[in-house]
Amino acid sequence: MTDRDRIVIVGAGHNGLACAAYLARAGREVVVLEAAPQVGGAAVTREFAKGFRVSGCSHLSYLLDPGIARELKLASHGLKWARTGLKTVALAQAGDHLVLRGGKVESGTVPEADRKALAEYHARMLRFARVVARQHNRKPPRLGGGGRSEMLGAALLGFDIRRLGREDMREFLRIAGINIYDVLEEQFDSPALKGALALDAVLGTNLGPRSNNSVLSLLHRLSGEAAGNDGLSIPEGGMGAISEALAAAARAAGATIRTSSPVRRITLEGDRVSGVELEGGEKVAAQTVVSNADPARTLLGLLGARHLETGFVHRIRHFRTKGMAAKLHLALEALPSFARLSAELVGERLVIAPDMTYLEHAFDAAKYGQCSPEPALEVTIPSLHDKSLAPAGKHVLSAVVLYAPFDPRASGDEARSELLDRALAALDRHAPGLRRQVTASELLLPADLEREFRISGGHWHHGELALDQFMMLRPVPGAAQYAMPVGGLFLCGAGCHPGGGVMGSAGRNAANAVLAMERAA
């Protein structure tokens, strides 16, 4: 094997690792180059205060592809679940908390009609999400042109939708592009229930409940459950454990993983990649370069716009990548006590989104470049399920805070401390005294996420999940099949189909695209 046969993967995020594992299993020489000292990208467990560890960005697993977990034997590579099937507890100021599990209201005051409607809603959304899930491991079809396989791909998508049956198909086509606010208003009365359900549709997106595409975002989120995952789960050792297991699988298959090896640029020979150059100046020759970095960073940063055509560069530049979610980490000297919440529910997923108007108002501020005055939160206390994360008797709290726009007006120390204060105030209202239990805290704004995880715009999904950036349009038309216009360059991250969330499918699909390209050559 010569240097020319080598495949370099830029970035050891979970997709890069999955891609490496599949390519190594296919017998390729694979070298993964990661800038950070550890693998995992945004699926990572890290210490933020002495003795306190937490999932640094993504903090719940719900999308991991079960097929990938099975094929790569992640369990035998050390992946264990600390907790699966988390319930959702919608915290209510009056103490009338709603406890939801799948399509059931386990406790809380909700009209009987809403309980029935919830069961139907959940089942229907899961059926729709299954359509989305079926596309995860397929290469999106190319629109306009292409051979029989492209037509077959488009036909399969159509077939999946048609197979829903007439009534469901109509409903799917009606709501897939619209907003969650209208859909929930049609079906439910309870403001608290609607608030909790709407939160799932807007988490991590640039959307409020009234924004179109929020239903699509929800279907994407639910597609993990539709694919067979047991709802929301927490791995033992935090989200980094998934990455560690993927890395172990890749190494076992023969891949080399080098951390603390930031790539400065992708090198070219004529119109083909010739390898990469590291920050230190070292050159690694390769026939194929697969980038786990986001599309803008890969194409405009590592490769350079001048090596691409004007129209393509224009589309990549306008791929929407502005993050909207902040990440909060608290070190707590004791387990906080939430008003009127029984102790066994504290470890579930706690959400603060009292109603849809609250969410929409939170979003309004962010639209104009301000962090929400009254933020919405998704809170977990993972140390309840995994003692390794905090010193004995102490706890870590991990929360997603909505909304924090990727905007110079809402970045920097002042914005950070202001949003931290508002988030703590929101928590303290439900868990009086929590503020005093905090011994260390960290709030990562999208600009911080961008810096730490090297994701343009600090967007979880590497780019907004919306119909115009979905499937065959993701990241942009002409680049939706993992192969980039420059010969030998591929993308394998969340900026590709099927998008963000810790799933691994983009990595596997990209590996298949690399192998298919080799066969065609």
């Binding site: 070219l268 004529g270 119109d271 405009l300 350079g304 716009a305 001048r306 090596h307 691409l308 055509e309 004007t310 129209g311 393509f312 560069v313 224009h314 530049r317 002409g478 216009p485």
Partner: protein, 402 residues
């Protein structure tokens, strides 16, 4: 308020069509008062007689007001790299003081526009285009350290075309102008300013284009017509130029091809190969807009062929359908004129592949009117392999006086 101040104040919308820097003279000379709007400038169709204006191009010299042509000044460390990514030919081969004709494409290898690149001085370029291109150029500049200024209104330009053009230039003080080779640029002092002269044009004849600060525009015009009188100088409008450019074999955006960025239907745009401009495509450059698509087209074959036609009879085949011998439509004529110099009925046509090979039997369906009655002729067309007008004086250096 003068024109420039109005533009500077962004009050251009108050006036939708602008006078050129030569308007004070062209409006006096335009005794036919025939005008049209060319990129929002007032432009003469014809001044006194379009046939005589054409005759001046081929037998003496004629002056054409070129101010409306869109011009861009391109500077900065990446100017060359930027242009090389933008256009299909290798701009590194256009040395300082030279001009190159080029085309540029979109990502799909479809022609957006054609124009000329003037390498004014080391690393300083002017790009002249038929269509407004600032949006595409600005878009293409991302990732390059380059400055692009559209300076259409800041440069007054004239075309001086015809056999006596060099003599006129020398008479107004451009000593040594005869030594400019085709596509050379020269600088001459004039009226206390700098007059740039390029041996370029749209007529396929001996001729020059003159570029000067608008403040000196009228002085230039006056000098040309004063010293040029004995050399038979005349003003010419777009009608006369149209005949000359078709004889010379030059295509025009919006007429012979539809700019790709304005095309809505997929089959309306054309690639360089489909415009018979393959010689302008340099695949040895690793990246330029359209390269991948054009390589693919080389493999797969083109959809259309662009040809010059020699049409029998004397009725110009304007907008005619072109048929094969079995009366199937195989294309359309894009430009057509009677050529007074070649004494031929000439046309350009865009034909479906494989039509347009030398020797193909082709027919044009020509309609013409006489006293309001319409007549139709089917005229046999012959594919011409050379331009209809290509005199040695176009190339001879030093240029003769005639």
């Amino acid at each position: 308020m003068n024109v420039k101040e109005e533009m500077g104040r962004k009050e251009h919308y108050r006036r939708s069509v602008w006078p050129t820097a030569f308007h004070a003279r062209t409006s006096e000379l335009n005794i036919l008062n025939e005008w049209h709007r060319w990129k929002d400038y007032t432009t003469a169709d014809a001044y006194f007689d379009e046939q005589l204006e054409y005759a001046a191009i081929r037998n003496a010299c004629a002056v054409f007001d070129l101010c409306p042509m869109t011009k861009h000044l391109i500077t900065g460390p990446d100017a060359l790299a930027f242009l090389n990514r933008l256009v299909t030919r290798d701009v590194a081969k256009i040395k300082p003081g030279k001009v190159g004709y080029t085309i540029w494409c979109d990502d799909n290898g479809q022609v957006i526009d054609d124009g000329t690149i003037f390498h004014l001085r080391g690393g300083v370029y002017r790009l002249c285009s038929q269509e407004r291109q600032l949006d595409w150029l600005t878009r293409s500049a991302f990732g390059f350290d380059v400055t692009i200024v559209e300076d259409t209104h800041d440069v007054a330009a004239l075309a001086l075309q015809g056999p006596t053009s060099c003599a006129v230039l020398k008479a107004i003080g451009c000593a040594g102008a005869e030594n400019l080779k085709p596509f050379d640029i020269g600088y001459f002092p004039f009226d206390g300013a700098e007059l740039m002269v390029s041996r370029t044009g749209f007529t396929g004849d001996l001729g020059y284009e003159l570029w000067i600060d608008p403040a000196h525009a009228l002085a230039l015009w006056d000098a040309l017509f004063d010293k040029g009188k004995v050399h038979g100088i005349r003003p010419m409008g777009t009608h006369a130029l149209e005949v000359a450019r078709i004889e010379a074999g030059f295509i025009q955006a919006q007429v012979d091809f539809h700019p790709a960025d304005q095309a809505i239907m997929l089959d309306r745009s054309r690639s360089p190969f489909e415009l018979d401009l393959g010689r302008l495509v340099d695949f040895s450059k690793p990246c330029f807009n359209g390269r991948r698509a054009l390589l693919e087209e080389k493999k797969r074959g083109s959809r259309y062929r662009f040809v010059r036609l020699d049409v029998e009879g004397n009725k110009p085949a304007r907008s005619a359908y072109v048929y094969d011998k079995d009366k199937n439509v195989v294309g359309t004529v894009t430009s057509a004129e009677w050529s007074p110099s070649a004494k031929k009925n000439i046309a350009f046509a865009s034909l479906q592949m494989p039509w347009g090979r030398p020797g193909d039997e082709l027919w044009a369906e020509i309609y013409y009117q006489r006293e309001l009655k319409w007549y139709k002729v089917m005229a046999r067309c012959h594919v011409a392999e050379q331009p209809f007008w290509d005199p040695p004086r176009k190339r001879t250096t030093p240029a003769a006086d005639f």
